[in-house]
Amino acid sequence: MTQSGSYDVNAIRREFPILKKSINGYPLVYLDSAASAQKPLSVIEAQREYEAHFHSNIHRGVHTLATQATEAFESVRTKIADHINAAQREEIIFTSGTTDGINLVAGTWGRANLNEEDTIVLSRLEHHSNIVPWQILATEKRFKIEVIELNEDGSLDESSLNEKLALNPKMVAISHVSNTLGTVNDVKRITALAHSVGATVIVDGSQAVPHKTIDVTDIDCDFYVASGHKMYGPSGIGFLYGKHSLLEQMPPWRGGGEMIASVSFEEPTTFNIPPYKFEAGTPHLSGVVGLGAAIDWLNSVGLEKIAAHEKSLIEYASGELMKIDGMKLIGTAPAKASVISFLVEGIHPSDIGTLLDGLGIAVRTGHHCTEPIMTKLGIPGTVRASFAAYSTKAEVDALVAGVNRAVKLLR
């Protein structure tokens, strides 16, 4: 087990009830945190506590419970704003997750600002959730989508980046960390370059939030989206950060309760101010509370410590995996976080995944919702092991032993 400095991974593991589970007679080795991280007891308890003692609808009751629920809910907005260093709490909009956040930006800012003749720029690294919302809008508004290509190692091709920015795009949509290759993009620099040609920037932070301290003021991006369940919080909840000046200009998206100022059949209906303008309907209240607990948990452990722990595991795992005959790591960018994608020559990734599951080892296989990367690399998919605060060196050893065993059977 790894114990570097004051980082006690065993103590951390004890906070995650699910990690005690057995799968197919083997202790669970959970290496799929990039798909969804497990939750510490404090998050599970916070949600339960909310449902058991504080639940009511928010913002609209005068009774005590409504006030308590509203306070619990709004305090998390402040917590997120502080956590990512937003200028004001009103810049945080609750969404159902990253996908929802990107669809919101495409559906409001995009719909209002993108037209025929316009270009937007994505990267080949993007998750389908940062591609398809733009494609759907593009079929209607007929703007062009240009793609920043990759280097062999999975980092962004600098000349391709410059070439695409020279097209004066109106929007640049880019991931902070690639879910498939682990590439960390220098989003601060990309944002500055994009701003210099007048583009608005949205950063998909879903894979960055569990591994890095996020400072949206420093990055200076216009929008930043993330999901709760990637950062040890509940699923079905996430947030969108947007610069207040942009949020004010953006038209509403979904209509409903809470997002209005006044509704009338005789006069035009008027809308609430941000963030409420974009939060129609009753949100996932216990999810918000759980997300708040997840941020507290991350801060109690310390993101820097978690990142250092994960980095040492990735380095160790890369070295051990490379000892396997025919092993090829997919994605070896100098700046990398959280995931190792690999292939073994002559073996289909799904076969390795199936056999690893037989040994209680949870990895992800397939295209990881990034088909454009697979197409470019000419591969059917990869096996992806992803690491989190609770991952251990012993789990890496189990993975390597499992892959060795699988390869022996499959060859």
Binding site: I347, H348, G353, P380, R405, L409
Partner: protein, 143 residues
């Protein structure tokens, strides 16, 4: 022999065959062997028209009705475990009359503990393949 029980017997044979394996890895080892032994599909049938697209592994399935009214399936997959499972399906459903194929309840995967491979979320193309085999049975029996 009653034709209704012929495919049932084939299923029971597979269930018995798997009874000797105590753990998952042994079962998979056997499936891998079966996959490796599957008669190859002819290249002319390994085409996109015969592709059953799963999320992860690809499966090609070809069906022919011979002059005796018997359906012969041939198939392939780019993943060996999927191919082994495909081979098991073929062992049960190929070389059978169209109506038998259409009517047969496939229960052997559940009996050998591999039913999860047929779940709609598994996305290995196997569930689509079984549906497709049944469709061939129905289509050929209508001729």
């Amino acid at each position: 022999m009653n034709t209704d029980t012929r495919l049932e017997l084939r299923q029971r044979e597979i269930i018995e065959e798997f009874e000797m394996f105590s753990d998952w890895m042994e079962k998979y080892e056997h499936i891998i062997e079966i996959g490796k032994e599957l008669d190859p599909i002819s290249e002319e049938h390994k085409v996109d028209d015969n592709l059953i697209k799963g999320c992860q592994s690809r499966v090609w399935l070809h069906a022919e009705l011979n002059s005796e009214g018997i359906v012969i399936f041939t198939a392939d997959s780019d993943a060996i475990i999927t191919k082994g499972l495909v081979a098991l399906m073929i062992r049960v459903l190929s070389d059978a009359e169209p109506l038998e194929i259409a009517k047969t309840e496939l229960h052997f995967l559940e009996a050998i503990g591999l039913n999860s491979h047929l779940s709609p979320t598994r996305s290995n193309g196997l569930l689509s393949m079984v549906k497709q085999m049944k469709m061939y049975g129905i289509a050929f029996s209508a001729r």
